[in-house]
Subunit: 199 residues, 2 copies
């Protein structure tokens, strides 16, 4: 049987462009016209490849998290819980103010509240934020076993705390906070882990 005409655009390169549009304007603020122009394709190609606007968002989110996976491994491989926190928050401060990307974090900027018909977009973003929190929690459980965090430390609470701080930094970055401001927040936040460390 015949195989059909091959696609003329690079799906990953197009997704990178779509990711940036969603990142900068949010899910509802991004229009199909903006997306297709940034991706360098026409609407029928977009719909053939990704189904609809929400499918495109999910594909862009997959690529976003895949790109961060290596960095997250680097974070989790720090020797102590305190160092994990420091790498996590300092890296967040830097990436959220990287001029090569829109400010903030796609998983926050993408959309916290949406209109009728897009109610599950916020849940989609929240689910992906939760994955990072899970990784952190497991890392802190390990830190307790290793005697790195004191026995009374609450691994889940510390993971939630880091998740909250990085989301908060995303909010600040999206409204113009510069790298120095975010690093200040990161430095203050890390102090919690020094107090929770086994002495």
């Amino acid at each position: 049987m015949a195989m059909g005409r091959p696609r003329e655009f690079d799906a990953d390169a197009a997704l990178d462009q779509a990711m940036e549009v969603f990142w900068r304007h949010g899910y509802e603020g991004a229009t199909i016209a903006q997306l297709t122009e940034a991706m360098g394709i026409n609407p029928p190609s977009l719909y053939a490849a990704f189904g609809n606007k929400e499918g495109l968002l999910k594909a862009a989110l997959d690529r976003y998290t895949a790109k961060r996976a290596a960095w997250m491994e680097e974070v989790l491989s720090a020797p102590t819980a305190r160092d994990v926190a420091e790498r996590m928050l300092m890296g967040t401060a830097d990436s959220q103010t990287d001029p090569d990307n829109p400010p903030g974090c796609l998983l926050v900027q993408g959309g916290l509240a949406c209109g009728t018909g897009s109610e599950n977009v916020p849940f989609e973003l929240a689910a992906r934020r939760a994955l990072t929190e899970d990784q952190l929690r497991e890392r802190f459980v390990r830190a307790k076993k290793e005697g790195d965090l004191k026995p009374s430390a609450d691994a889940a609470a510390l993971a939630r705390y880091l998740s909250a701080v990085s989301a908060g930094m995303g909010v600040m970055a999206s409204s113009g906070a510069d790298r120095e401001a975010l690093r200040q927040v990161a430095n203050v936040s890390v102090k919690v882990f020094e107090e929770q460390s086994a002495k």
Copy 2:
């Protein structure tokens, strides 16, 4: 000269309803149809009273911050910086999970990223978040003068930190985090202030 027909609806009550719609759906997700229905008026009344959708948002934000002013005074009147932080974050945890309101914080939920034509909405929200941060910073400057925070403490950084944590809690609350989860974050966050207190 004649004074014209008086308005038949209570502007403040209508603003409370509009506030809730913006809070739940965000600026772009909220439609004029939803707003007018919640407010119990027709579009011409809305436009006569508030100019346009963005004017209505600003009026709703004014009312939001006015309602919180008394609570903020209560927070700032705490005796020590540590107690200010605790009241602030615990109060935030409770109000962001109050079943009488939509989850989260209007100043975060309202819109971090917007489409073309609404670019200044995020700035509008950020400006109002900055006011709270300013109040906290001044309170911590005072705490240093009073010897309540140690001399090396950075009042601006601590205020930014509290602002970031409460924004992060807003993100979590909007995606379903319950009151207990937010209180955990608040409890962990407050520890920073114990370490920064003059002993």
